[in-house]
């Protein structure tokens, strides 16, 4: 049996969890095992209708007085999944590659002393042994690996599996599972959520992103990039080099240890195209590079390029756009 941990917000499944269900269903189809889901938290029980289209045959709602009412508790969630997996004799536990997915499965893996492969992009099962591919270096390398264990834990890399419904929808059975959890499992518990009052378009959602790297040279000249972003209804991002210089906050960083973006166009100004930067913008439809160096790596990776000093090109472009509007 394949047990899939599904995250949800008030009974609406999270998109990356649905992606991971596509992976889980592929595994289940390959091994001929049923696909079942584990849901936690208040309103988790409401998920049954939502998960049928994805081929989930049974939804296990984990109930516990301290799990339903109080905030998210990573260890308690992980131990619950581990107990459920043991109870059901699950061969594999899958989950999304979110912060929560990773920590809940890591806790489950620690409880079960079982191996776990994160950020998987392809999984093939042969006689109980998994041959899988997973992202390393944030996706700039692929690792082919073999995973064996009773059970194994696997997370699906972000946006590698499409959200796909099963050929035939099922009406999942719903059951409740009551784990037994010691107080220590609640040593870490979500205390509160603080919402930010930041305005502007979030990097991950922007249709146009103007990126500035070390080539911008100083914090003030980001004004030109801001103007360009405004003219195009977009937002400004940065390379790690620019963030390290203190020119931009880390929230603006694009790349392996920053934001992943997927705009219609990414305009990269004074950015060399290091591999750790490019994994952050590989989701962009188009890349336009503005760089003084025709040999810069980004010129190979971009769709369009302008060879020149961004301090000249960007103001000229802004002027051209203003004239047009």
């Amino acid at each position: 049996m394949i047990l899939s941990f599904v995250e949800h917000e008030s009974g609406v499944p999270d998109e990356l969890s649905l992606e991971s269900l596509t992976m889980a269903r592929e595994i289940a189809t390959g091994t001929g095992e049923p696909l079942e889901a584990a849901v936690l938290g208040a309103e988790g029980g409401a998920l049954a209708d939502e998960l049928g289209p994805y081929g989930v045959e049974e939804v296990h709602h984990v109930v516990h007085d301290r799990l339903d009412g109080e905030g998210y508790a990573p260890q308690a969630w992980g131990e619950s999944i581990a107990q459920l997996a043991a109870d059901l004799d699950a061969g594999t536990v899958t989950g999304p590659s979110t912060d929560r997915g990773h920590e809940v499965l890591a806790h489950a893996g620690a409880t079960l002393d079982a191996p776990m492969a994160t950020n998987c992009t392809a999984v093939d099962v042969d006689n109980g042994a998994y041959e899988l591919e997973r992202n390393r270096w944030g996706g700039s390398l692929i690792e082919h690996a073999r995973l064996e264990g009773e059970p194994t834990l696997v997370t699906a890399a972000e946006h590698e599996y499409p959200v796909e419904e099963a050929d035939a929808a099922v009406e999942p059975a719903v059951s409740e599972f009551s784990p037994s959890l010691p107080d220590t499992a609640f040593a870490v518990q979500l205390d509160r959520v603080e919402t930010s009052d930041e305005e502007g378009i979030a990097l991950g959602e922007a249709r146009v992103v103007v990126g500035g790297g070390r080539g911008v040279g100083n914090p003030d000249d980001y004004d030109q990039l801001e103007t360009l972003a405004d003219l195009l209804d977009g937002t400004v991002g940065a390379s790690r080099a620019a963030v390290n210089e203190g020119w931009r906050p880390h929230d603006d960083q694009i790349g392996q240890t920053g934001a992943k973006i997927s705009p219609d166009i990414y305009i990269a100004c004074g950015i060399s195209g290091a591999i750790q930067h490019m994994v952050g913008c590989k989701g962009a439809e188009n890349i336009l590079a503005i760089n003084t160096d025709p040999e810069a790596a980004i010129i190979q990776k971009a769709d369009y390029a302008v060879i020149g000093d961004l301090h000249d090109v960007v103001p000229a472009l802004n002027e051209e756009l203003e004239e047009r509007s």
Binding site: P74, Q75, H102, E103, A106, H107, G109, A110, D113, A114, P115, M116, R136, G138, S140, L141, E143, H144, A145, R146, L147, E148, G149, E150, T152, A187, V188, L190, D191, V193, E194, T195, G204, L232, D233, H250, Q253, T257, G258, D264, I265, S272, A274, I275, Q276, N286, L288, A289, I299, Q300, K301, D303, Y304, V306, I307, D312, V313, E320, L321, R324
Partner: protein, 257 residues
């Protein structure tokens, strides 16, 4: 307070990753090494906490003899002590790594004093396993918060914040605890030349790592560089003269105007 930060040595890859012929590892013959960025922030956080609250910052790595270089970077960033668990150069999996570090904690605490906080990177740059911190915490029976971008410690309690879409999750946890951090939690300091010279003279404590991998296996078969489209970009022009051509592309090809 005493803070331990655990870091990993990784190749400093640039614009292109070249693999060795057997596809088993990155060809590092022309590369330098660095530590994972999240972990550089873990050291900075440890040093700041020790500076603010008194106590000491300790940096530990499991890695080859050459990883002493990353420990010296930590010492130059004003960590007080450093420990190398010499692994001999083979890649250690996340469970073996967590167990090796857990196995040595008692010993380190006997020598250097009990740790109030154990800091890890949320995930290492090369492996991205996202589980060493959690597994270690569970071995030691300590609470664990992961993926943290802000940390405040007061009176034996850590307030840790994790970014989510539209805000932050806030966790309050009693020390001692394990916390895994992400880049952005602070700005790691640049070590001065003088600090680097001093770091070279500091002693690095060495220990033989144990560390069971546990039941089940995860085994690398090979690495592969994904296909990339390296067809050169369409050059729209040079300098300011290119502006009209850019607007043309934005309008007719990208269709955002």
């Amino acid at each position: 307070m005493n803070v331990l930060s655990c870091v990993k040595r990784v190749p400093n890859t640039g614009a292109k990753i070249v693999l060795t012929e057997d596809n088993q590892r990155i060809d590092t013959s022309n590369l330098g090494f660095t530590m994972s960025p999240h972990e550089e922030c873990a050291i900075e956080e440890a040093v700041q906490l020790a500076e603010d609250h008194g106590g000491s910052a300790h940096v530990l790595t499991l890695g080859p003899e050459e990883a002493t270089e990353q420990l010296r970077t930590g010492l130059a960033m004003q960590a007080d002590e450093a420990t190398l668990l010499e692994s001999g150069g083979e890649e250690w999996g996340p469970r073996a790594t967590a167990n090796a570090i857990a196995d040595v904690i008692d010993d380190l605490e006997d020598e250097f004093g009990a740790f109030d906080l154990l800091l890890f990177g949320n995930e290492s740059a090369d492996m991205g396993n996202c589980q060493v911190g959690v597994r270690l915490a569970r071995r030691l029976g300590l609470p664990c918060v992961t993926g943290i971008r802000s940390l405040d410690v007061d009176d034996g309690v850590a307030v840790a914040k994790r970014e989510i879409s539209g805000g932050e999750e806030v966790y309050e946890v009693d020390l001692p605890a394990v916390v895994t951090v992400k880049e952005g939690i602070n700005e790691p300091r640049y070590a001065s030349m003088r600090a680097k010279m001093q770091a070279r003279r500091k002693e690095v404590s060495r220990r033989e790592p144990t560390g069971e991998a546990g039941p089940g296996t995860f085994e690398k078969i090979r690495l592969e560089a994904p296909e990339t489209d390296d067809s050169p970009a369409e050059i729209l022009g040079e300098g300011v003269d290119a502006a009209p051509a850019i607007v043309e592309v934005l309008a007719s090809e990208v269709e955002i105007l």
